[in-house]
Point group: C2
Chain length 225, copies 2
């Protein structure tokens, strides 16, 4: 395990701003999942309004990075840290929007539950896994532990598997929850899967910083629905 | 109308690499739409394999930008151009993946058509609009015309409207195409809408470069399904 940036550029201050934002993204998705499974309108509204601020946070991070680039003219690894942080902040902005989307599914169907009984366990598992992957990403950001980053990527395979399970359930002739619920579940599944992809993306950028190498396969392969 | 970067940093070479990539993204989505509506497996496979290269292209753009930052230490506006280009290249990477996703819907349902007759016109319109918005984004990148960028944003409202139309159609009690088709159409609609959001995002970044101001509303509001 190797730390990849020193104090010379002063950038650690900006990079250290990222892990709490990552953590918050995970919590937001956790709360969105509660709203969805508990048919909790107030919780849904809270997630939607709170996460509306992520764009501002993301801009702050971007401006901070640009200020570092302008003032300190970092080179080599430090420069890569700044550029990578910029890309990560974009990932995190999307994560906030995805948590809002999950909450919006709950709100749209209220007071009906959006998730049928026989899919509650799978959606709960997707929500928990999403939150866990984001917590792992925050940890990787702090520790720069490449092995943990690669483990996160393997853990994301389970998200893809859960996504496939939902999909097969929808395609099953015995599906009897109607089209509206099918649409809601399709979208929610897609939101969780994308959210997890962003956690993987954050971890991959850390790997790139540490090793200088990209992991090869796409985070979001086209074969998955 | 004001051009925002000179030749001093040498970055125009890197920035000029963007418009053709933007154009290509639009064409890819056009071809994916053909594959979807014509139930054309070969076309679908071509889009999927061609767009698999976008990640490499995106990395090239990223490395180019980092090289400019390292060698030329740009400041002020030139620095913002480089950073903005980095963000745009991320948008374009996603666009390639979204075109792959549309093609993958066609492939998965082959030899069945994924889009029912009564939604063909709407999907065609979404595909064409997606391609047109991306062409506008490429133009804005070249001209830095703020008015055209704001027009693009207004044109995207029509994409949101088409997306809502699909959604209402799915929710209609008279829907008789079954759940599998509902899932396919839901996902395809979402892919087009996201694709258009990325075109808006590219245009917004140009506006930011020219005016120093962000346009305010979210590209992907949570109220939309």
């Amino acid at each position: 395990m190797r730390r990849v940036h020193g104090d010379a550029t002063g950038f650690p201050a900006a990079a250290d701003a990222l892990p709490p934002v990552v953590q918050r993204s995970g919590s937001a998705m956790g709360r969105a999942t509660s709203a969805l499974l508990d048919t909790d309108l107030q919780q849904a509204e809270t997630v939607i309004s709170t996460e509306a601020q992520v764009e501002d946070r993301q801009r702050d991070l971007e401006h901070q990075a640009i200020a570092v680039l302008a003032r300190q003219q970092p080179v080599a690894t430090d420069l890569r840290v700044v550029v990578t942080s910029l890309r990560m902040s974009a990932d995190l902005e999307r994560c906030g929007v995805l948590a809002q989307h999950v909450a919006a599914v709950a709100r749209r169907r209220y007071p009906e539950p959006a998730v049928p009984q026989d899919l509650r366990r799978t959606i709960l598992e997707m929500g928990q896994l999403a939150q866990r992957l984001m917590a792992q990403a925050a940890e990787v950001l702090i520790t720069h532990d490449v092995d943990a980053a690669l483990q996160l990527e393997r853990d994301d395979d389970w998200m893809d598997e859960l996504h496939r399970m939902i999909f097969h359930h929808l395609m099953d002739d015995r599906w009897h929850h109607g089209v509206e619920t099918a649409v809601d579940v399709t979208l929610a599944g897609r939101y969780y899967e994308r959210f997890a992809d962003h956690a993987v993306s954050v971890a991959r950028r850390v790997v790139y910083l540490v090793t200088g190498e990209h992991t090869d396969d796409l985070a979001d392969p086209p074969a998955t629905p």
